[in-house]
Amino acid sequence: MKYLLHVTTLQYSSDKCAGCGRCAEVCPRGVFEMRDKRAMIMDRDLCMECGACAKNCDFSALSVKAGVGCAAAIITGLLTGSEPTCGCGDRAASNCC
């Protein structure tokens, strides 16, 4: 299943890619494939901005504004003026999974 087209904030500069393959290893949407020791974006619109690739790219070849794709979280974020997050609300709660 694919969500809206041309909205992802995923940016990739292939000249910085060292070919480690971490992005292809971590992306759960199959956005990347390794070709000739370099990552290639197969389909940008599959990206859901989870941020795993950018987090694990040691060569700053990838950037993405990671966030939750969750309407309730975004609405709450808009109302409270904070960044949208999902979860327990009170993050200090020790029993938060």
Binding site: M1, K2, Y3, L4, L5, V7, T8, T9, R22, A24, E25, V26, C27, P28, R29, G30, L46, C47, M48, E49, C50, G51, A52, K55, N56, D58, K65, A66, G67, V68, G69, C70, A71, A72, A73, I74, I75, L78, P84, T85, C86, G87, C88, R91, N95, C96, C97
Partner: protein, 350 residues
């Protein structure tokens, strides 16, 4: 006497999934059973139904499954008991992901757990398998730099772990790609219906009030006879947005969840409308108000499902909300105006 008391105390503290202990070079660790008890099944069901979902932790630590040796693989999970249960069953999830997204499953957390359990002393190799979806919060290079352990991001699903390890820590594209089959979508719907139904009493009160309001006071009889069709339409919209849209997701045209929910809302209304007599069908004002309001309600509820899917991104949802929220507010406002005009006419003031 004191020994017996201590024993009792320990027994109380040991969770039911622990089947014993085993000693390692770094002290004793709990041995876990790979079978689910009745309590585990019940917990899994409860976690799908309500707020309990957010509060189902397991104590972090090192647990032994089967007969591990120093060369055994180390598999990391989150402290969400549902993830932990699925993992231990497969050694004979999804919630690592949420924890990683929230920052509770992170590089620092992993490193501190590794040192707290003295993992380096327990095993003689330097590899650790982290769930792939944990990569949102874990930077593999930093873990290696600070602990010496090389992080292998395993498969998305715990059930693929055996074949992943057998294949020498390599995975196929299938193993590393998330899917969203109908069964998984159905499992998630109670947590869509529940929050929607929590707000339903307010909607019901509003409807009954408006229809019961007469120049002579609030009449219970007209509240029920006039309001019932609208309560039924409200329930239909909840069902359309919180159940039918998620279940039929890939079969409903358009990518936007708001549009999908609206379409299913319209179709559900078409199915339900013939049940109502002339009290709704004959009143053009009420008819217009319902056709404007209820599909929009279903659309809004369907949009909430973006939080449960595994393929919607923040930019996309923001775009939907930017267009959607003003639309929802104006549609609700316009249908309220139609309803008011209807009431005024009913009272013979027009």
């Amino acid at each position: 006497m004191r020994a017996a008391q201590t024993l009792k105390f320990i027994k109380k503290e040991v969770p039911p999934y622990v089947s014993g202990t085993m000693s390692t070079t770094a002290g004793s660790v709990f041995r876990i059973s790979s079978d689910w008890s009745r309590a585990d099944y019940w917990g899994a069901i409860k976690s799908r139904l309500g707020a309990f979902r957010m509060n189902y932790p397991v104590s972090p630590g090192l647990y032994a499954a089967g007969e591990p040796t120093m060369g055994s693989d180390v598999v990391v999970s989150a402290n969400y008991k549902l993830s932990f249960d699925i993992l231990r069953r497969e050694l004979k999830g999804l919630n690592v992901w949420c924890a990683a997204g929230k920052g509770t499953f992170s590089t620092d957390e992993l490193i501190s757990r590794m040192s707290a359990t003295k993992l380096g002393e327990v095993v003689d190799h330097r590899r650790i398998i982290v769930p792939q979806l944990g990569a949102v919060g874990v930077n593999a290079a930093e873990v290696q730099k600070r602990t010496g352990f090389r992080v292998f991001f395993g498969p998305v699903l715990a059930k693929d772990l055996p074949s992943y390890i057998e294949a020498g820590y390599t995975k196929t594209k299938e193993m590393s790609t998330i899917r969203f089959p109908m069964m998984e979508r159905i499992i998630l719907t109670p947590m869509e219906i529940n929050p929607a139904m929590k707000k339903f009493p307010w909607f019901a009160c509003g409807v009954l009030f408006v229809f019961g309001l007469q120049p002579s006071g609030i009449l219970f009889k007209s509240a029920l006879s006039g309001g019932m069709p609208f309560l039924a339409l409200g329930l239909t919209s909840v069902l359309a947005g919180a159940f039918l849209t998620p279940v039929l997701l890939p079969f409903v045209p358009f990518r936007s969840f708001a549009v999908k929910g609206w379409i299913i809302g319209v179709l559900s209304m078409l199915a339900v409308m013939p049940l109502f007599g002339p009290s709704v069908q004959g009143e053009i004002l009420l008819l217009v108000a319902s056709w404007l309001f209820f599909p929009a309600m279903s659309s809004y509820i369907a949009l909430q499902f973006t939080g449960s899917t595994n393929f919607t991104g923040m930019s996309g949802v923001k775009k939907e909300l930017k267009i959607g929220i003003p639309l929802y507010v104006s549609l609700a406002g316009i249908s309220l105006v139609f309803l008011m005009v209807y009431k005024i006419r009913e009272w013979g003031m027009l």
